[in-house]
Symmetry: D2
Subunit: 246 residues, 4 copies
């Protein structure tokens, strides 16, 4: 509770839109990862050290050592999910099972790591009209630490629509439900535990809209990092055998 | 599974609006209970025997014997919650704990029996504009028996708005989430177990709108009756002591 | 997270065994409440201020002001549940719904407040053989903050037996499962949320055995107090109406 | 509910112990699959048609067509998990997501399909002393259809020990908890939903002990088959996009 060692956060982004589409680069001049990292640093200050990594880095910036030195990993991907190496995905999975927190963002619902941790298709209903739609993010779990200090609702003026049915396992905690102009609803903030690792999925955030500059979205991500941090005694594999009776 | 004995259903309604407000009586000429009962009979046929009961009946139509002969109780109330006798509420609670199914409808969220079973305030956000709002009821649990054969979404053209935060315990199953024209969301179909009794809360349905004639709403209520029926071996109190080791 | 204000803890105990049975007073010379309070002070130090209250105190030591100044309330009762005033029970309930943490201990499973918050009978299987039985408390939720730093399993040499079926609603989190010499099992550490209040039930602890001096039991209770503390922004009633669309 | 078409059940067993170890073949002369299939036929009669399949069959007896004609698949494996083809595992997964029920038995906790559906290591504590230990299987969810008509507790005189921590995600339903002579506990009956498919894991059952002839174990498996059967409208992939507003 009185952690004096900063949480080590890695913000991972495939980083393809920003490097190939000028209109996206204009929205996120430092990359989506840059915007997310800036938000975490702004809100959490010395509570964290934040590094970024992208698909183009050696081993995607997720080597064994880099993961061993990560307490919480944020994941943004969209058009290059299949370019992520299976070996890296399995490595990330092992670290999550050992206690590393994982925050999966927006279109990361179709990432290999999310599907691998949850087992389902993670598919959803989708629409992206010209100019986007208004998304309202409602808190249905007011005592959850991820919702601390967050507006009821968060108003995001322009977003693409993600709707139900969202094919995920029943979450441990349902924190946020979004509605869209078209009337759809979406479980937009959900948590899971896998092994010793805590997982938070949060859907607001897109390459075409400046959602990661939204102060309330930044607040949720900062809360999420705190929540997903390993508890003391984590980062160990479960024992498989103990033949002696108690 | 191959039950040849019909389920015994009691539809309870306070029955005050219909007897004091001609405009409500015009919408529900046989009472809200009458409309609900007709829907169950229409869809479930010989699978059920349906009786109705109201506040004005002796013991509100919920005597010990009447409850002992009820497999599933549906509850609609709104402006007369405080006129329901505490003794009857406790009697209903005991039957639910013993295995009787309970389906609480719409404004019944503030009924004594619902609050007594759940422990929370059961309060919610509310608005009833002239002419109502469109409610879309989304199924987020497609394999749940209560959602069997139900449209995605159910479209209800005119309803009052119920919104989050809805102060209930975490439900066992979240089946439906509604959105409203104003952008609010609501966990509109949720289940709980208390003792041996299964509880289903379903919010669509109001005295000012003909919601209980809506074919899809009728389908949900019929599914709910099947789901809430006691399993074999229910309708018994839990043992409190068994001093002999196994 | 960096709370500098101590958590205000009230340890409530009916305090009847210790004042009427010398053999119990010999085990708990400062009362069960005294032993629990000492354990919390020992482990949490300046993180908490601890007061005790008993049935015999005016308003049972749970006046409106005393509750308003309590962040987490621990509750131990056994033979005097029915002597607790209904008015005080309802007052405690309102504070829990508003955000006060509640930790219910051992035979408190039959307290008015526990039954009132959960809605069920809270009954269980029971046996108290001469000399007690060995209870093993297994952690099935290793990342839960209540289990932090706790042995796997906790070994309690002498206890009475509490066994399943334990008639409670499905808990939010299942943290501990106990086994007993006789072979019974029991969900001995479970959590619930009601309104803004967090509730933890922990069964180890009895007037006939010195369980509240056990270092591991003290660790669990200290963890429980931290976990049940209100989150920022709690201690407020939910809004019931908001007629303006977003 | 009034299904006149029998459920199509496939009992899959790796079938290695029985064909290579005479002492196991003596316990299960028709194979573990044969014993399980006989129990289902005995209890469910014309409600089911049961076929068996083993590792040695072409495509392990789990071709696309064979899976398409299976409503519920039971899975027993132990020493040959790694010989199961990845292609078949992915095929099974797709059918589960589309609605096929899956019942994973005992040492199948380490099967590829179970780990693939759940995402965790699925490891556990283990001991197999000479002659086994007594396992008591306690029902903690008395209204669950899988527990219908089952003794409290089920007594299995000889079993190997499986204990916590069992590294699985939080189950949808916790139905059974076992204790063992050594004092360990285990969540021995748990359910999950993945996509449209229902999954039941049940731990009692081993090649060295005649557990699959135990009448109560057979009752649980028969209940499990009924429970895991696809609901009407299942066996379809979720829609991924619907660009038109409602």
């Amino acid at each position: 509770m009185t952690a004096t060692t900063p949480l080590r956060v890695t913000v991972w982004n495939e980083g393809v839109h920003e490097t190939t589409q000028p209109e996206i680069a204009a929205i996120y001049p430092d990359g989506i990862h840059g915007a997310i990292a800036a938000g975490l640093t702004e809100l959490l200050g010395q509570e964290v050290t934040v590094r970024t990594a992208t698909l183009a880095d050696p081993e995607h910036g997720l080597s064994e050592q880099q993961l061993a030195e990560t307490d919480v990993l944020l994941w943004w991907g969209h058009i290059a999910h299949d370019q992520v190496s299976d070996e890296v995905v399995e490595r990330v999975r092992q670290h999550v099972l050992g206690g590393m927190g994982l925050i999966v963002l927006h279109s990361g619902h179709f990432s290999k790591i999310f599907i691998r941790m949850l087992g389902t298709t993670c598919s959803l209903r989708w629409r992206n009209p010209e100019g986007g739609e208004r998304e309202l993010v409602w808190n249905v779990n007011p005592t959850h630490p991820i919702a601390e200090g967050v507006d009821q609702p968060i108003v995001i003026e322009a977003q693409e629509m993600y709707g139900e049915f969202f094919d995920i396992p029943t979450p441990d905690d349902l924190v946020f439900i979004s509605s869209f102009t078209g009337g759809e609803v979406f479980r937009s903030g959900v948590t899971f535990t896998r092994g010793r690792g805590k997982i938070f999925y949060f859907s607001p955030g897109d390459q075409e809209y400046p959602v990661y500059f939204h102060p309330q979205v930044r607040r949720v991500l900062a809360n999420g990092v705190r929540w997903a941090a390993p508890v003391a005694g984590a980062r160990q594999a479960p024992e498989v055998s103990n033949p002696q009776p108690v």
